[in-house]
Symmetry: C2
Subunit: 191 residues, 2 copies
């Protein structure tokens, strides 16, 4: 079900959802199959009216197969409350465990306008069209996406920027280090 606070973000502000380097969940679907995996190696590549992102997708992952088959993927930002889910979908593979999403309590809803599953409970979502770069994908597992739609949970992102200070800490984004350890996005400072 589409989350209550799910709100469009203008494309030219969508880079701000990921500019601070949080860990993402990657979702994709093809031919009736849906999957979600975790990725710490995701980054903004460009902003403006044709924003782009990069994400590293290992050859072993089922999600990568869905991305390559469909030409689409979504990146979304899990919260502190979702740290355990994030480790779960980042550890188990749908190849070995077909009911991986159900096991970890991951629920998806349909993105507006594009055929992409988005993950409930996240606080930012980016719908991306794969920009095919076969050499990058083969040599580096590096995928480029053009962002065609962006949304955020209005409790923590509004007026073009994050406002974590106005909401429960459980809604803050997270940054994976290693072995299931994360840093929560912390205090705001002006440089």
């Amino acid at each position: 079900m589409t989350p209550t606070h799910f709100t469009p973000v203008p494309l030219d502000k969508s880079y701000r959802l990921m500019n601070h380097g949080p860990t993402v969940l990657v979702s994709a679907q093809h031919g009736g199959g849906i999957n979600v995996m975790a990725a710490a190696w995701a980054c903004v590549l460009d902003y403006g009216q044709a924003p782009k992102v990069t994400v590293v997708l290992d050859k072993a992952t089922f999600t990568r197969e869905l991305v390559e088959a469909s030409g689409w993927f979504a990146l979304q930002l899990p919260t502190r409350a979702m740290a355990t889910i994030t480790v779960g979908v980042g550890t188990d593979s749908a190849r070995d465990l077909p009911d991986k999403l159900a096991k970890h309590g991951v629920k998806t809803f349909a993105a507006p306008d594009v055929d992409l599953p988005l993950v409930e409970g996240c606080v930012g979502w980016l719908a991306c069209r794969l920009v095919p770069e076969p050499h990058n994908q083969q040599a580096y597992d590096l995928f480029i996406g053009e962002v065609v739609g962006a949304w955020a949970d209005a409790r923590v992102f509004h007026d073009g920027r994050w406002h974590f200070e106005d909401a429960p800490d459980e809604l803050r984004t997270i940054h994976h280090v290693a072995g299931g350890q994360f840093f929560v996005t912390g205090a705001s400072v002006q440089g």
Copy 2:
């Protein structure tokens, strides 16, 4: 001058310096010229014994010219105490302001074994050999580096991981959002 707490990090643990997605300073030198710029769009690309990183370097930057001429760059992690310096070197260009580093009080020291300037006051440093990918560089401003040396400030990174909780908050890493606003790397949680 090499910082007091400057300590080698094993290559296979070096990805952990950047896995949580902090903003970096990019430094390079060539033919007597040295420069430092800020980049929020930097990411781990691979780990293991030949770790790699990506970083986006705009065509307008002088640092990019030094990277392309020398084939080397360093990424390093500025701290909360360096937020203003990070904005300064990310805003001013050495093309217009040749004494940019002096203006912002940026001091560099020589990396061990490789001809790279490293920035004093940072808490992690990665010396990278450019992996030439002309199409990525031209089309996306995307540069790939293989990490050949890594070091950290032992007060906040030791035994292969960050220990921000044991040190002053001023030594925490920072994550740029937009317009000089950063989030400080926050609390540690286990997923």
